[in-house]
Subunit: 358 residues, 2 copies
C-alpha cells in the first residue's frame, strides 16, 4: 500500500509545525487511513522516521501479514502500549486526536507519562488531510456510488403501494451487498407519507399507501468508502403542493451543484441552495445544512453549513442535499454525491432526479 | 415509557453519592436508555427533580412527540445548550461520561462554565445500571436472539461449497431484517478455511471449498437490543484435528455455561473455559476473553475476561464464546447469548451446537 505510506509521510512532515514528536491516531477511520487496518481495535503512532501499529491478539495474525508499519500486538489497552513505546523512544510531545480520544483515555495517558512528556491536542489534522481524496480513493467512492444507485434501481422496480418501509430497507441493503458493498454506510432511511417530514426517521412497519410520498436516503460502504443519495417517489399523481415542494428543492439542489467549484467557501454553496428556497418561502423548512464531506466515514469535513468557511478544493468528495420538511404533509430531499474538480464538480450519482411515479 | 422514567429516577437517586448536581449523558446508547431516542444527536441531563433532553432540528418534531423529558431543540452544539441550562439552573457540579465524552468536548464545556462550576468524571455509572436488564429488556434480547437464529437457519440451508463469504453475509443480514431486525448488531463475520483463524475477519469474495471450515459470527439489533451467536460448519467430513479442536471448544463452552450463576466473579467463568482448553493444550490459542455483556450495545459491561472481578447478578445478559485459532489450519468458536437467572443461567440461543455438516 504505497499510498498509505505517502499519507503517513505527509503527516510526518507536519510534526514540526504541530510542535510534536509523534502523532497518535486512534479513531477507527484515521487508523484505517494510515494503516489499511479495518478492524475495531487499532492504533497508529507516526514519528518523523518511523510508523507503528498496535492491535490486540485477535487481529495479530492478520496485521502482521498486511500492515507495513512496525506491528505491536498488545494484550492490555493499546494506548498503554503506545505510551510505553513513546517513553522508550523519548518522544516527549505526543499529539493526540482531541476530537476523538475520550477524556478517560486522555487522563490515563497523561497519568502514565513521566514528567517532561506532554499531550498536545491536534484536533482534526488527519481529517483535514483526508478531505482531499486521491484518484484511487475517488474511484472507490465512484464504485460505492454506482453500487448504491444500482441497488436503488433494482429495489424500486419492486416497490408498490402496500410495501412496508422495513421491507424496502432490507431489500436495498441486500442489493447493495449483492453488488459488492460491505454494508450500508449509515442506517438506511425509508419514510412514507408524513413520516418523510422526519429527516432521519427509522424504517417502520408502515406500508406505502396510495397518494403518499416515499423518501429513500441510502449509502453503501464499499472497500471502506461511502456513498450517499436521497431520492423521492410518489404513489399516484402528486398534488400541487408536493409538486411545488419538489420543484423548489430540485431547483435549490441544482443551484448548489452549480456553485460547487474550487476556491468557493462551503457556506456559499449552502447559501446558493438556501436562497432558492427563500424565493419559494421554504427556507424555514430547510432545517439542516446543504451537505457534508464523505469518504472512509459517511460524515467528514467539510460541512456545507451556514457558517463553514472552508474553501472547496479539487479532490473533495461531498454531498449536496437540500431538503424541506412540513409536519403533517411530508418532506422532500434530493441528494447526490459529487467530487470537486479543477473547474467545477462532477456528479457521481447516475440516478435520475425526477420525482418517481409508482 | 414508564420504565425509562424509572431508569432516570434510579440515577437521580445516586446524584448525592456521586457528589454531583446533574448528570450529563452523551453516548448514544446511554441517551437511548434514558430517553428512548434512537437517533444520532441527542443528550440527556438528569437532575434531582427533572430531566432534560436535547436534540437538533432534524429530530425536533419526533422528539417533541415521543420523549417524556423536557425537550430542547438546539441549533448549535448540544453540549453548549446543556451547559447553558446547567448555568441557568445553578447546577454547579456536572457529572459527565468520562469514558465517552471526547477530550475536546470536555475542554470546551469546561471553558464555557463560570468559576464555581466543575466537571466530575463519573466513568461508566450508567453502563453499570444497564448491566441488570429488566424483564422487558430480556424479552427484547430474546426476540433479537430468536430472529438471529432463524436468519441463520434459513441461510444455512442454502449454503454449499462454492458459496462466497460475502454472499452468505448478505443473505444472513437480509433474513435478519425480514424477521424484524433493524440491522446487524455488528459487522457479520463469515470466514471459510484458514480465514476462520482470524477471529474478526471481514467477509471476502472467497468461496467455501470442499473440506473447509465455515465460521459464522452474527447478531441482530431488534428494537434496539442485540444478540450474538457463533456457529461452525464443515464442508465434508472433518479430519481428526478439526474434530478434536471442535470438541475441546465445545467442552470449554459448556464448562463456562455451567459456571454462570449469581455471585460468581466474571473471571471465574472465564477460567472455567480456559481450564478446559488448558487440559487440551489449547489455552495459548484462546486469544480473547470468554464473553461480554450485551443489550443496547453489542459490547457492554461486564467483560468475562481473565482479570474481571465483577460478580454476576440475575438479569445480566452475556455471551459465552470461547474460541481456538490456529494459523494455517483454522479457528473454532462457539457462542451463545445467555441471561443470568436466580439459580444459574438461561441459554437464549436455540440453535444446535453440533458442528454442522454441509
Amino acid at each position: 500500500m504505497n499510498e498509505i505510506h505517502e499519507r503517513r509521510k505527509a503527516l510526518a512532515a507536519r510534526l514540526d509545525e504541530l510542535k510534536i514528536d509523534v502523532l497518535l491516531a486512534s479513531s477507527p477511520a484515521n487508523v484505517r487511513y494510515l494503516s489499511d487496518y479495518a478492524g475495531s481495535n487499532g492504533l497508529v503512532l507516526i514519528a518523523r522516521m518511523e510508523a507503528h501499529f498496535f492491535t490486540d491478539p485477535r487481529y495479530g495474525l492478520e496485521a502482521s501479514q498486511t500492515i507495513t508499519a512496525h506491528v505491536h500486538v498488545a494484550k492490555g489497552p493499546l494506548i498503554a502500549a503506545a505510551a510505553a513505546l513513546a517513553k522508550r523512544k523519548r518522544w516527549k510531545k505526543i499529539g493526540f486526536e482531541s476530537e476523538a480520544l475520550t477524556y478517560s483515555a486522555y487522563a490515563k495517558l497523561k497519568e502514565d507519562l513521566p514528567l517532561g512528556f506532554s499531550l498536545v491536542p491536534i484536533g482534526r489534522v488527519i481529517e483535514e488531510q483526508r478531505m482531499i481524496k486521491s484518484a484511487e480513493e475517488i474511484e472507490k467512492i465512484r464504485r460505492s456510488v454506482e453500487a448504491n444507485s444500482e441497488a436503488f434501481s433494482r429495489t424500486l422496480r419492486r416497490v408498490k403501494p402496500g410495501t412496508r418501509e422495513k421491507e424496502i430497507a432490507a431489500e436495498l441493503e441486500f442489493q447493495m451487498r449483492a453488488l459488492g458493498a460491505e454494508k450500508p454506510s449509515f442506517d438506511t432511511i425509508v419514510a412514507v407519507g408524513d413520516r418523510s417530514a422526519l429527516p432521519h426517521s427509522i424504517p417502520s412497519g408502515r406500508r406505502l399507501a396510495e397518494n403518499e410520498l416515499l423518501l429513500i436516503d441510502m449509502g453503501a460502504s464499499l472497500e471502506g468508502y461511502s456513498s450517499d443519495m436521497t431520492r423521492m417517489a410518489y404513489a399516484g399523481t402528486p398534488p400541487r403542493r408536493i409538486r411545488e415542494m419538489y420543484r423548489a428543492v430540485h431547483e435549490a439542489q441544482i443551484a448548489a451543484l452549480d456553485a460547487v467549484r474550487p476556491g468557493i467557501a462551503a457556506n456559499k454553496v449552502d447559501a446558493a441552495a438556501r436562497n432558492v428556497l427563500k424565493k419559494h418561502k421554504l427556507e424555514r423548512e430547510f432545517i439542516h445544512s446543504t451537505g457534508h464531506g464523505l469518504g472512509l466515514e459517511i460524515h467528514e469535513p467539510p460541512r456545507l453549513g451556514k457558517k463553514e468557511k472552508t474553501r472547496l478544493q479539487p479532490g473533495m468528495a461531498i454531498t449536496i442535499e437540500p431538503g424541506v420538511y412540513i409536519a403533517g404533509l411530508g418532506g422532500v430531499r434530493i441528494e447526490d454525491t459529487v467530487v470537486v474538480t479543477a473547474t467545477g464538480c462532477e456528479i457521481l450519482t447516475p440516478t435520475s432526479k425526477e420525482l418517481i411515479a409508482l
